[in-house]
Symmetry: C2
């Protein structure tokens, strides 16, 4: 049976992600969203009665789920920690388009506290940090050191994405991904 919607949720969220990650919350106009998704204004409001803020909020939830199940869950299963971290790095490579795409948490956090998104953004980044801290802990690092290294990994990823965007060269991101296995497991990395 064919889907009732002309545009699947998957397609819509893919395009929604693209618009919000490129333009941020304030820059993501309904015209841009409508054009990207192929859904007219009124159709968007049918799916998201709460308007633009609900679009961003639902997108965050969608990406959160995708992150949790496809990227973070495998990180904390059984097996060699470094191998699992390399697996996460591969998924991050795909998700961030080889360093050519920005982080949604970054671009959505711009513009101050206008929206009620900050709590959700905060929760997302915490879940990610926790997952990386857990695998670092399992690899033998102390709890404190594991958390610190997870935060450093986050800084590496976010920073390299920003530098890649500014310079137009994704190389820093690829290098950052390569450092993750050692950064998150080696007690004497620094």
């Amino acid at each position: 049976m064919m889907p009732l919607n002309k545009v699947s949720d998957q397609q819509m969220f893919d395009q929604l992600l693209e618009v919000f990650r490129v333009h941020g919350y304030e820059g993501a106009s309904l015209s841009l969203i409508s054009e990207a998704t192929g859904l007219k204004r009124a159709s968007l409001y049918h799916r998201f009665p709460g308007g633009k803020e609900e679009m961003a909020k639902s997108l965050l939830e969608h990406v959160d789920e995708l992150f949790a199940t496809e990227i973070l869950a495998p990180l904390n299963e059984s097996g060699d920690p470094k191998t699992r971290i390399r697996q996460m790095a591969r998924h991050l490579d795909a998700f961030y388009q080889g360093g050519r795409g920005s982080c949604l948490l970054d671009t959505l956090s711009l513009g101050g506290t206008n929206t009620g998104l900050l709590k959700d953004i905060h929760a997302s980044i915490s879940a990610w940090t926790d997952a990386m801290a857990t695998v670092a802990r399992e690899s033998g690092l102390s709890a404190a050191k594991a958390r610190r290294r997870a935060e450093e990994a986050l800084v590496q990823i976010q920073g390299s994405l920003v530098v890649a965007r500014i310079t137009g060269d994704p190389a820093p991101f690829m290098r950052a991904l390569k450092t993750l296995p050692d950064l998150l497991t080696d007690p004497d990395y620094h």
Copy 2:
């Protein structure tokens, strides 16, 4: 003699910087800019006939000058490299408001290639990277290593600013600043 302008250039650029670094280019509306600077729309267009794009471009030039003379120039003068790097770190601490302010190059680079700002942004980041690579080179690192470390320093700064903004905790930025002297001078940092 009193200045002819009710609002000095210094005051105006300070507020312009605040609006653009918080909201990005697309989110920085003339209403926000007008309110922040205390200048009505028409007055802003008197100073910047090219409109919003010229405001951002002039601001970039202004910040570039400030960066070059107050932050980067001392970096490449005489004296102990580590001391000079610590001096830069203090200036960065002030400029980025202890990690509570975003980087203008980051927020202005959002929204794609709509504007002619990308070249200026690119030039700014290059000058900064070059200055850090130079001091790293002077401290004894090879040219290639010096450049790589300068890029890593940039990633640390940009990444910690993003994480600080997302989490609301400036601690990562303060830690990043502390690592700069060793990162830019120690051949065996990693």
